[in-house]
Amino acid sequence: MSARADPRGPARRAGPGWRRPGLLVLPLLAFLSVFYLVPVVLMLARASGPGLDFAPLAAALASGVAAQVFGITLKVAVVTTLATLLLGYPLALFTAIAPPRVSRLLLAAVMIPFWSSILVRSYAWMVLLGRQGLVNDALIGLGMIDTPMRLLNTSLAVYVGMIHILLPFMVLPIYATLSAIDGRLVWAAENLGARAPSVLRHVIVPLSLPGVCAGVLVVFILCLGFYVTPALLGGPGDMMASMLIAQEVDLYNWDLASAYAGVLLVVTLLIVAAFGRLLNLERVMGAGR
């Protein structure tokens, strides 16, 4: 073997890095266990109640208000996901087929809102949709309405705000799969006489499905946990699951809040587990933020 090896010295560690590189996970694993896993497990344990009879959980599951709130949450998630897909796919497709300079510009336009905080963007919509806001001014200016409409603190405002915030999460993974498609497949289809609609239907859309699935899943899951935007833009009828949980914490119903949180967590994890194979977090989060 190596003639240079010194038999007295400590054995030079074999291979690059450490002999057991897997051990490098341990510090983070320990950190997350203490400051994330243990708190969540302790919180979930509260749902069993002081008498260990699972009374808070039973109350949570039986509560009509909770059923209504979870129903609204699911509805908002479905509508927002469909809307971001409908708006996001054309943008992603055009970004993928546009000349490089246009494409870079469009990506920057998607990324800059992505980098600004949810709070700031919700605030922007509060200003735009207010009674004296730009949207009302524009509608009056166009002669479509006479007096300012109530836009803020409505379900419409919640949808607009959430679609605005989640759209990049849909565009980025779809764009990532579209830009990875081998352009020669499109040439081949076109040379064989396919027109744009059939190229789209038979080549581009099927090949972009992994990105679509990733985007749909991420947007849907993020919707389920939304708090800031519906709280700022919505009205009393737009309470979502996170707001219900926060409200019970404020009322010192900590066990009930924990039970609701447990239900929300289980719903989220079940969806991830069912479709988790489609979820490439690196693609979604690494593509930009």
Partner: protein, 273 residues
């Protein structure tokens, strides 16, 4: 870069024009609300109107004159700095473990490390709040930073693993064959190669903490809140236009960070420095 030919559609000229128009409208919807806040923040009147009837710096002056706003800003910067440090160190080490190591339950461990990205914020927020209440550390800046680190660290793991996958192991092997120790190899070869990913991950961690609201709402103490929590109070109660100035400053910060991140990502894709 991929070896694939770029995606070009030569058929359907009219369809492409229509698609371009749709894309433009969607982009306008995305960008407009973010951009329009900036001119609005210079409004000279007591209302936020666009276009502003008169221009002034009154809301900026108010922000810089108010101790509560400045204290909140410093607290956020301090917490985000600490989070960046902790998340970068822990996350980079873990990315090495995940990419280079083989251990039982690896997929489950990776899912756990990345799970703060998908677990609803309110769940983490109240879990940490109950936990900190029990320990009596609600309101401590270090405690806020610890909670934020858990939320920020997946961004580092994702970014560093992405670049680590692209590192040519033969460069490290060459260094070691020439007698470099594991640490020297890391310092002189591996780290320079993954630096863009580490910096990008750190940037994400910083902004994740600096923008974080839900956890901060529960675990900050009155009179000692982070900037997003201070903004939240203002939006809920006073509707104070100072927020427009704060938001504009934050938007400028986001744009700056975006350009830094874009450069880092271009460097990472280009194979290191």
């Amino acid at each position: 870069m991929s070896a694939n030919a770029p995606l070009v559609m030569s058929s359907g000229r009219a369809g492409r024009a229509l698609l371009g128009l749709a894309a433009l409208l969607v982009v306008a919807f995305l960008v407009f609300p973010v951009v329009v806040i900036v001119p609005i923040s210079f409004s000279g009147s007591a209302f936020l109107t666009f276009p502003p009837e008169s221009l002034s710096l009154q809301w900026y002056a108010k922000f810089f004159a108010r101790a509560d706003w400045l204290e909140a800003t410093w607290l956020s910067l301090w917490v985000a700095g600490l989070v960046t440090l902790m998340a970068t160190v822990l996350g980079t080490a873990a990315a090495f473990g995940v990419v280079r190591g083989r251990f039982p339950g690896q997929r489950l461990v990776v899912a756990f490390l990345l799970s703060p990205l998908i677990v609803p914020g309110i769940i983490v927020a109240i879990a940490v709040y109950f936990f900190y209440a029990r320990l009596g550390i609600v309101g401590s800046p270090v405690a806020i930073a610890l909670a934020h680190t858990a939320l920020a660290v997946p961004f580092v793991v994702v970014n560093v693993s992405a670049v680590l996958h692209g590192v040519d192991r033969r460069l490290e092997q060459a260094a070691q064959n020439l007698g470099a120790s594991a640490w020297t190899t890391f310092r002189l070869i591996t780290f320079p190669l993954i630096r863009p990913g580490v910096l990008a991950g750190g940037l994400f961690a910083f902004i994740a903490s600096f923008d974080e609201l839900i956890v901060a709402l529960f675990i900050t103490a009155p009179g000692h809140v982070t900037l997003p929590a201070r903004m939240w109070q203002s939006m809920r109660n006073e509707i104070d236009p100072t927020i427009a100035a704060v938001s504009s400053l934050e938007i400028l910060l986001s744009v700056a960070l975006f350009f830094v991140a874009a450069r880092l990502q271009a460097r990472a894709a280009g194979g290191g420095a």
